[in-house]
């Protein structure tokens, strides 16, 4: 995956259409909500709740793409489509990779917000 963490074209377009002030608020909302989604993924993986798992992955995918975090979006999409089984087989490894990518996204978005 050679994609940048945040696709700047997408982010700038969002900023332009919604307004700079609003984007700061929206980034904050995402940074507050996304960790809850990651928690939900881990929890539903532990309890093997496929529905909650799929829905959390779906939400994370949709939000990531909104900000241009396409790598994170693609990873979440894969979880949404493939469901729990591959994650169970890989001992939860995809969730760790997802968390690492999310950490990169957090850093990049924070920087963009404070720029």
């Amino acid at each position: 995956m050679t994609q940048p963490t945040i696709d700047l074209a997408t982010f700038d377009e969002l900023k332009q259409t919604a307004g700079a002030d609003f984007i700061m608020e929206l980034v904050d909302t995402f940074l507050a909500e996304a960790p809850l989604l990651l928690d939900e993924l881990r929890r539903s993986f532990a309890t093997r709740d496929a529905n909650v798992f799929r829905r959390a992955a779906h939400s994370l995918k949709s939000n990531s793409n909104t900000f241009g975090a396409h790598t994170l979006g693609a990873m979440a999409r894969e979880l949404e489509l493939a469901g729990l089984d591959p994650v169970v087989r890989a001992n939860g490894q995809p969730l760790e990779a997802l968390a690492q990518e999310y950490a990169r996204v957090t850093a990049a978005l924070t920087e963009l917000r404070d720029a």
Partner: protein, 350 residues
């Protein structure tokens, strides 16, 4: 419910995801709309049943009640089934799009929603809604509330069903010489006033006007919606019509104009009520012997020199309190056997 200027609408955004909800709300507000939001389908339905909205933007994947369930509820709800819905979702697969459209969604936008596309789709949906609202308004004006309701509930199909009810015919005596003696503008104005007064009397007793022709009108009591006492209602209406015309005539005479006299015939029994015509142009009407008899009785008012004539079936259904005079049997065209004709006493309060 529209505020905020031209083209602005009142919208409801439903999405369980806060980022999506905020962003969509913001985009729509920037386009000048007034926006409320809900975090799941259950909350959205509560809001829709409480407040009035022009359009719903609906996410599919939600806890508690998802978008599909909301669409199903809307289809089954008489008040809400015309509400336009634009689905905004990032659901995977064409099947979900198809399922949304089949459930009555007007349009489908994938998330992240492109603001330009959103504006175009929203504009088109709101315009369609405006046209539909206008059609409903026209239907109310031209069809009467009961027929409009019947059409909304049961849809349109040519053909009739047997109903039991009362039919009324009424027309203005000596209308042709009157129309010839005055300018046409004055005649139209007279007819408009006359129809307004008569419609008011008829609909206040649950009757439905099914025909207006020149100075004559036909009304049905007991269809499309059945009613407990169609004969009583028809006779009460007739008395009120006469009373109203008396008041109207006081004004006319005071203005130096000739009074307007009307004749009314009422018959009751079984008839066939429904939509007749073609699929393109149809009218709600009633047919059958009962209808013919009511029309003949109305014509007979001139011969008998009475104002309200009713048949024996209508007479039998009325309470004994109603003052009626039996005029005897009359040979009616189209009837093999002469029929009993009764005249309703004027000026009685029922």
């Amino acid at each position: 419910m529209r505020e905020a200027g031209h083209g602005a609408a009142r919208l409801l955004v439903v999405d369980d995801n806060k980022v999506n909800r905020l962003l969509l709300t913001r985009s729509l507000e920037l386009q000048g709309h007034s926006v409320a939001s809900a975090e799941n389908g259950r909350v959205a339905l509560e809001m829709l049943r409480r407040e009035s909205f022009d359009l719903l933007l609906l996410d599919m994947e939600m806890p508690e009640m998802d978008g599909f369930q909301v669409l199903e509820q809307l289809v089954g709800d008489l008040q809400l089934r015309d509400l336009p819905v634009i689905v905004t979702s990032s659901l995977e697969g064409i099947d979900s799009v198809v399922r949304c459209i089949e459930l009555g969604a007007e349009d489908y936008l994938t998330k992240p929603v492109n603001p330009v596309l959103l504006k175009a789709r929203l504009g088109a949906s709101l315009e369609k809604k405006r046209l539909r609202d206008q059609q409903k308004e026209w239907m109310r004006r031209f069809a009467t509330r009961e027929v409009a309701q019947d059409l909304q509930q049961s849809g349109f199909a040519l053909g009739g069903k047997r109903v039991h009810g009362a039919v009324m015919f009424s027309d203005i005596r000596g209308f042709t010489p009157l129309a010839e003696s005055q300018p046409p503008e004055e005649t139209i104005e007279l007819l408009n006033t006359y129809y307004t007064l008569m419609f008011d009397a008829i609909s206040s007793h649950g009757g439905v006007v099914t025909l207006m022709a020149g100075d004559g009108l036909m009304a049905i009591f007991g269809a499309p919606q059945p009613m407990p006492d169609p004969c009583g209602n028809a006779v009460r209406t007739a008395l009120e019509m006469i009373e109203t015309m008396d008041l109207f005539n006081l004004e006319r005479v005071a203005a130096g104009k000739p009074p307007i006299k009307i004749g009314i015939g009422i018959a009751s029994g079984e008839m066939v009520a429904g939509y007749a015509g073609t699929n393109e142009r149809a009218t709600y009407t009633c047919i059958g012997d009962t209808v013919n008899l009511a029309s003949r009785l109305e014509a007979h008012t001139k011969v008998a020199g009475r104002t309200i004539l009713i048949d024996s079936a209508t007479r039998a259904a009325l309470s004994d309190r109603v003052g009626v005079e039996l005029l005897g049997t009359v040979a009616i065209r189209g009837k093999a056997v002469p029929v009993e004709v009764h005249s309703v006493n004027l000026g009685q309060k029922l």
